[in-house]
Symmetry: C2
Subunit: 292 residues, 2 copies
């Protein structure tokens, strides 16, 4: 599919893309790029056979490549675009893996003036507790949702090629406009993470005073799992998508107001109906989740 693939940022996601691309025979050669401080990780990636070679010089990394995958944290995308600008090639296709897409489009507009027609932003809805290339696997994207958010001026060939690329990595690809992506992910991912962080922040301070955590059980463990996510990554995601997230926080506070009122007025029937609606809605989610 490609002769030479460049991966910028060979961590869990970048490494898993490389592994799957090689396994599926999507390219002949994979070069990794990173900063000086990433060199040890790049060495490991090469020694594991995840990439064929690496370089700390971006001009060498993107030389003669057909496809560039930007797999760095959300917050660094503008800086990466700025470094790529003088090296940008019309003969290559560019994609990324950021969890927020409005920020990618905004960064591209800022750096390039207009979103390049050979850039096709993507978001694989996949991840794992661990990070770094040692955690990468060749089936990270298998049967996982992936959303691509091409701009209006995107080249149909580039969109088509990136869609097929991700499908061959195992993903179930949807095409969506940027705003819809950021709105959906704010609801299904960003808000739950904020809630988990908020609850554990609040209860952690209580625990310091009266040791409540020793009486927390398995339900609490699962509910708070996402509060163990990487704080740096999540502050960046929240900042990048705050326009979508803030109205949802408002709405959730309204929902908590409603439940509080039902408790205060002993409206047992409405409480039951709310909980039942939620239980059924989650079942609807589970049915989809396991039928993917």
């Amino acid at each position: 599919m490609f002769n030479r693939l460049c991966i910028i940022g060979v961590g869990l996601i970048g490494g898993s893309i490389a592994r799957a691309a090689r396994q599926q025979g999507l390219c002949n050669n994979i070069v990794g790029y990173g900063r000086k401080l990433d060199e040890q990780n790049l060495k490991t990636a090469k020694s594991l056979g995840v990439i064929d070679d690496y370089t700390l010089e971006l001009d060498k990394a993107v030389q003669d490549v057909d496809c560039v995958v930007i797999a760095t944290p959300v917050a660094s995308i503008e800086s990466i675009f700025t470094q790529l600008k003088p090296l940008w090639s019309n003969d290559a296709i560019y994609t990324d893996v950021g969890s927020t897409k409005g920020s990618v489009i905004a960064a591209a507009q800022k750096v390039f003036g207009v979103v390049p027609d050979n850039l096709v932003p993507a978001h694989p809805i996949a991840g794992a507790e661990n990070s770094g290339v040692t955690a990468s696997v060749d089936d990270l994207f298998l049967n996982k949702r992936l959303i691509i958010t091409p701009a209006d001026n995107a080249s149909p060939e580039a969109v088509q090629k990136i869609q097929v690329f991700w499908e061959r990595l195992g993903s179930l690809v949807s095409v969506m406009d940027v705003q819809h992506h950021d709105s959906v992910l704010a609801a299904t991912s960003h808000l739950p993470h904020i809630l988990a962080f908020a609850l554990v922040d609040m209860l952690g301070h209580k625990d310091e005073q009266s040791e409540i955590f020793q009486y927390a059980a398995g339900g609490f463990k699962d509910f708070t799992r996402i509060a163990s996510s990487d704080p740096t990554m999540w502050k960046d995601i929240c900042a990048a998508n705050k326009d979508e997230i803030i109205p949802l926080i408002e709405q959730l506070k309204g929902e908590l107001d409603k439940i509080q009122r039902l408790l205060e007025t002993n409206d047992s029937q409405q409480l039951f109906e709310t909980f039942t609606y939620a239980k059924n809605a989650r079942q609807r989610f589970l049915d989809q989740f396991y039928n993917n």
Copy 2:
């Protein structure tokens, strides 16, 4: 330890108590009690060997027993006490398994005038997704926390005996006053359940309009697991402990206000510190959880 044990309500919890008590040789004979509509479940319990016999008549169920375990839903405790009152024996010990304890004490005071000194309320912090005697197991309480909340006038012998009983069923027993129990559980269990129900209620309505659930992933699945809990049981728990829960809902709304303000003011550093505090606090919880 006991000659004859009576279990009122032979479901997941009651059945698991019976299985563990038999396995540990804590009694010679176990009788189950339930209502007419529970008869099929009681038959199953007997055929599985979980109980030796059952009856639908409470006076027969408690005849000559040394210990009565009330393992019915929280909301039925007052009705059970009322039925037990004319049959109450000073030669037996009584315990229960409700998730809220203030409501048990209040029901006892209402029915008996004063909390009987041979009643020792207990709360095993253990459960499972499934319910009914077919889901019962003999190790449900193994290495799980259990809190007993004896009233001031409780007989020290009764407290001691119930403590040893639960310990021999495998539990790690703590003794706590009722108010502290209800305050701790409101924070570690009731509030998280309400949050999960609230979030899924809100997002379920969004999903009906724009199908967001198909893009939700494993993090969402774990975060919302407790929203699949039994609505009847949870409306009763929330109602029974609303005095502890409402101030926590207020506090959580304040916590969400804080995070919203950090987003609005682009206070990335404080956001990072909040998320980091939460991540570390959860690690503290996990360390305790796995060292139990």
